[in-house]
């Protein structure tokens, strides 16, 4: 995942994650692993749900399964957003 994450996307990912996990925002850093943040599989699907709503995107199961830390999560969201932008706009 070498996606360059825009500061705005990263900020929204961090906020969504903190909100979903009920963690103080300052604790949720891009470097943090899910393990460090105490995120288990069930938390993981809650976070994906929150991110899908926050960004109005669909996150496929296969790509979600590989994500282990905040950086990968943000990069994954950015990738989906970039792909969405590249497609002709669907009816809003």
């Amino acid at each position: 995942m070498s996606e360059t994450v825009s500061p705005e996307v990263l900020d929204r990912v961090l906020r969504t994650l903190a909100e979903t996990q009920k963690l103080p925002l300052e604790q949720v850093t891009p470097e943090a692993s899910f393990e460090q943040l105490g995120i288990d599989s069930l938390d993981g699907i809650n976070i994906l749900f929150a991110l899908e709503n926050e960004f109005n995107i669909n996150i496929p199961d296969e790509s979600a399964r590989l994500v282990r830390d905040v950086q990968q999560l943000a990069a994954g969201v950015q990738k989906i957003l970039d792909e969405k932008d590249a497609q002709p706009a669907a009816s809003a």
Binding site: D40, S41, L42, I45, L48, F49, N58, D61, E62, A64
Partner: protein
């Protein structure tokens, strides 16, 4: 009072067919009932394409229009499976015996089709009211209650809801009723009809459903595949069955249940192993007596690894004399009905002294190192276990054995 309990009739509705001969033929052939979700079910935007629906099941062939008014699909399936099981058992009860006849059914979430349709009309179509029988249709005991009306049975009747273990919990409790003389005959099993748009969306959100098919214990498995159907078994004391000259399919020899107290959705190998041991103790059988494990085998990444560990822990000393079958690859994960379908497959495997294929297998997974059966083959075995490990960490295991004729 303690009595040996035997199974004298079984009935099924599943993706493999609307009766047990079709079910068993599908099992023996390894012909998976998993296919594209159809039958008029709305699957707009659902990420997974496949399910194991009982597409051949048409309630109108089994009930007249008036009878169908109070019945959700899951209840009609329970009744049709029960009729088949009772006909096979050739059970005729006197009015007095009917007061000591029990029915225990399992269902994960009851009349979901009726609930979904009713709520859709409220929320989406802005209708001012739902069908007046929505509540009696959606209650999880609807199948059991309808059976009492049809059969006139007046003994202990209730419904167990423990997600994917529901039917095993139901069968186990009915077994204990008969064993301890609290009922003289019992119908036990489960039914489920989860193919509604709302239910499919909920499973999609949980991210445990396979993008293609169910491949238990295989490398490359991608999750479970939802199924629907019903399985019902007739239980009675051995002496009674012998006295009336009934065909005895198998003995229901033991039942174990426990809770992991570990995680809401992640399974626990320790909990599974403990439940297997409890069931073996209840059957008074050592692990070496078991020749077949009908696994919970959902095809999810997590279940199959932990279940393999549990099987190796309990049966590790005699793995070469053990075969593992995983019939959800054939009939899908029919939730509250699943373990009833699995119990039926286990019973019929014992009766024919064979193992059946695990469908959709691709490649051995070193993390699932169990002796998986991949073909229909003769397999002499005295006893078998049938596993269920539900979300919420609730485990239920049955032990079945042959009756020497």
């Amino acid at each position: 009072m303690t009595r040996r309990v035997v199974i004298t009739g079984v009935g099924t509705v599943s993706a493999l067919g609307t009766n047990t001969p079709d079910f068993w033929n599908g099992c023996r052939a390894g012909a998976s009932g998993i296919g594209p979700i159809g039958g008029g079910v709305d699957r707009t935007g659902i990420r997974f394409p496949n399910g194991a629906q009982a597409l051949a099941f048409d309630p109108s062939r089994h009930f007249d229009e008036k009878q169908l008014i109070p019945l959700d699909r899951f209840a009609t399936m329970a009744i049709v499976a029960a009729r088949e099981a009772l006909a096979a058992a050739q059970l005729e009860l006197t009015p007095d015996e009917k007061t000591r006849a029990a029915i225990v059914t399992g269902s994960c979430y009851g009349g979901k089709c009726s609930e979904d349709a009713g709520f859709r009309s409220l929320y989406k179509d802005n209708q001012p009211r739902v069908h007046p029988l929505t509540i009696p249709r959606l209650m999880s005991n609807a199948g059991a209650s309808a059976l009492t009306l049809e059969l006139g049975w007046q003994g202990p009747v209730w419904t167990v809801s423990t997600a994917c273990s529901s039917a095993n919990h139901a069968i186990g409790q009915a077994f204990w009723l008969v064993r301890h003389g609290l009922a003289d005959v019992a119908l036990a099993g489960g039914s489920e009809a989860p193919f509604t748009y709302g239910s499919l969306k909920a499973w999609e959100a949980l991210r445990v459903v396979s993008p293609d098919t169910c491949r238990p214990f295989s490398k490359g498995r991608g999750g479970m595949v939802l199924g629907e159907g019903a399985g019902m078994l007739v239980l009675e004391p051995l002496e009674r069955a012998q006295a009336r000259g009934a065909t005895i399919l198998a003995e229901l020899a033991g039942f174990g249940m426990s809770a992991d107290a570990h995680h809401l959705t992640q399974p626990s190998a320790a909990g599974a192993a403990r439940t297997l041991r409890l069931a073996l103790d209840d059957a008074n059988l050592p692990p070496e007596a078991i020749g077949v494990v009908n696994a919970h085998g959902t095809g999810t990444l997590a279940n199959d690894v932990t279940e393999s560990a549990a099987i190796r822990e309990v049966f590790g000393a005699n793995l070469d004399r053990l075969r593992v079958i995983a019939t959800k690859s054939l009939h899908g994960h029919a939730l509250g009905a699943s373990s009833a379908l699995e119990a039926v497959a286990t019973v019929l495997g014992l009766r024919e002294q064979c193992v059946i294929p695990t469908a959709n297998f691709q490649e051995r997974d070193p993390e699932c190192d169990v002796p998986l059966s991949l073909e229909h083959a003769p397999w002499p075995h005295e006893a078998a276990v049938s596993n269920s490990f539900a979300f919420g960490g609730l485990n239920a295991v049955l032990v079945l054995r042959t009756i020497p004729s």
